[in-house]
Amino acid sequence: MSLSRRSVLGVAAGAPLLTSSLSLRQARAQAQNTIRIGVLNDQSGVYRDLSGPGSTHCARFAVRESGIAQAGINVEVIEADHQNRPDVGSTVMRQWMDRDGVDVILDVPTSSVALAANTLVRERNKVFLCSGAATSDLTGPACSPNTIHWTYDTWMLANSTGRAMVAAGGQTWFFVTADYAFGHALERDTSAFVTAAGGRVIGSVRHPFPNTDFSSFLLQAQASRAQVIGLANAGADTTNAIKQAAEFGITRRGQRIAGLLVFITDVDALGIETAQGLVLSETFYWDLNDRTRAFTRALGTMPGNIRPSMVQAGCYSAVLHYLKAVREMGVAAAKANGAEVVARMKAMPTDDQAFGPGSIRADGRKLHPAYLFQVKTPQESSGRWDFYRLLGETPADRAFRPMAEGNCALVRS
């Protein structure tokens, strides 16, 4: 038999086809035994440091720590940038869930994008573990059987920081608010506390998101003569506002700044000289207790060499608990029915190094204590990342909005 040129060419051309169809079949077989977790957050903008690659790092750490690979279950963690825009985020999520077989959407800071995720995930019966976003609507009017709101929310921040500020004598308030879903929710929830505690909201101004120059808005806040200027924004918006408030001597004239949402990465960006004395609330601080310190050590070097923010720690905690439910149910059942996995997660108590023991409520709210911190003075601080002094703790059962007040359809009797 002589080898014709054509047959050689034919085999050569067919070979890659053959191997690729083999690997496709392998991939498909593997896909049935693989859980895919999509970390969707800000990889390039103002919320990158507090979520971003650090969240992915924490999620991957949770997968390793869960030991699920030893149980023969593959878990893949992928990540994407939503640029803080609901349209960009929605496109990524559709592609992930409809084409790439992603089972869990994780993190999603920026409340407007998180609300979009909430709807998309529910339509497809997948799982949404929200760590980065703040709006308390996720366990209120927008609550869903497929969503767990993990780390913090606007009600908790208002309850902790807002209440502390009113108790310290801040009776009149003026809000500087980021003009989108998150800022509106934070202003609304804080206002409710201020008025309930006998204080008064005398005005507010909404700034574009993101924004760099806050002097105009701060001057309006100053002109209002309110005792407290509430910053209902986050990330670089908050740090710019605080920096410029110091520049305009606002605190020296007797007004106080309430950073309603301040992350440890923001304190680092401000520098401790500028940030000292700031009162803020978090649900996780790396140097809180032996367990959080052990957790931070075990994480190894974070991307950008930062300490984990509560959002990033929340990603770890959420993935760890999710994988427990998957292990109980089996991969096939978990992939088939997201609501069922969430129901299973709600039925189990939670416990991990970062947040300690906790639970998940019927409306999808994860419960754990909230901590009120004050930023140390440069003299008290032993160095970078030694930032907080603990002022108080709100226990888990009182840290978040009571279920009956949330107006969540899942728990309405």
Binding site: S44, P208, A236, K243, G271
Partner: protein, 294 residues
């Protein structure tokens, strides 16, 4: 309290002053853009990234070498200007004969690369940079509390703008530059090294951006996206003023800063958009810009 259009007068005056301060940044940045466009015909989208580099170089000088603000005002523009010259020699000089669009795409790509690299190295939340002790404190103007540093920014910006305008419009060096853009071959025939002049012009335009960056460092957080936030507005300023018009970009920069400041009082939600509305109106009625020659 006196009221003007339903707004307390002191608040309004305060916003006018703040508008001037922001306008100072717009003017300095658009000035560099106008110089580069006027003399090189390149739409320099890297300008925002170079502004950011100016701020970062100031921060690095302080953090790694202990060199403070005053030297940074001099060193950072030189360092960033040199990187600009390298970019001009390596990339931009190859594009002069091509359509504007290629220069725009190249510089836009470079901006993304520079910003991405800084983000990977230093994260997104920014670095602290303090106001130099000589310029802390504030003046009480009666209607507002003006930080000394902001006043300083306006003074520096005005001086730099004026100097640049004089240099280009009133000196023989400026005349040569302008002639070189009209007819490079003829100017070269007079024995003037046009490519070198163009290279130095680009370096100077970039140095202006870096100087603005150093001035901005103590006010805004020094972060990789600080330039991206500014650059789009600044391009609108250049378009409104008339592409390549030096005086146009200076005047428009200050005026738009004030307009934006006033918008923040009357309808804050519109403040990030108002510049573009004005741009659209100007493009419809005077396509060459307010100060441009059609």
């Amino acid at each position: 309290m006196d009221m003007i259009f339903g707004v307390p007068a002191p608040l309004l005056f305060g916003q006018l002053v703040l508008g001037l301060i922001n306008g100072a940044f717009y003017a300095m940045l658009s000035l560099g853009l106008a110089v580069i466009f006027g003399l090189l015909n390149i739409i320099n989208f890297t300008h925002g990234a170079q502004f950011m580099m100016g701020a970062f170089v100031a921060w690095m000088l302080l953090t790694y070498l202990g060199i403070g603000y005053w030297w940074a005002l001099l060193i950072a523009p030189i360092v960033v200007g040199i990187t600009g010259i390298v970019i001009e020699r390596l990339f931009i000089s190859r594009l002069y004969k091509l359509d504007h669009l290629y220069g725009l795409l190249l510089t836009f790509g470079l901006a993304l690369i520079i910003e991405g690299s800084f983000r990977n190295l230093y994260g997104s939340s920014g670095q602290p940079y303090r106001i130099p002790p000589e310029l802390t404190g504030a003046w009480d103007l009666g209607f507002m509390f003006l930080p000394v540093y902001r006043g300083w920014v306006v003074i520096v910006a005005l001086a730099v703008c004026l100097a640049t305008w004089l240099l280009i419009e009133k000196t023989s060096l400026g005349a040569k530059l302008r002639a070189a853009t009209e007819n490079p071959a003829l100017v070269q025939a007079f024995g003037i090294n046009v490519p070198r002049m163009v290279m130095l012009t680009y370096g100077a335009g970039v140095a202006l951006a870096a100087l603005a960056g150093v001035l901005a460092a103590p006010i805004y957080s020094v972060n990789p996206q600080m330039g991206a936030n500014f650059i789009i507005t600044v391009f609108a300023v250049v378009v409104i003023g008339g592409m390549g018009s030096i005086l146009g970009s200076i005047v428009t920069g200050f005026v738009l800063g004030v307009v934006e400041g006033l918008t923040r009082v009357f309808y804050p939600e519109l403040s990030s958009t108002v510049v573009f509305i004005i741009m659209a109106i100007v493009l419809l009625t005077r396509p060459a810009g307010l100060f441009g020659r059609a």
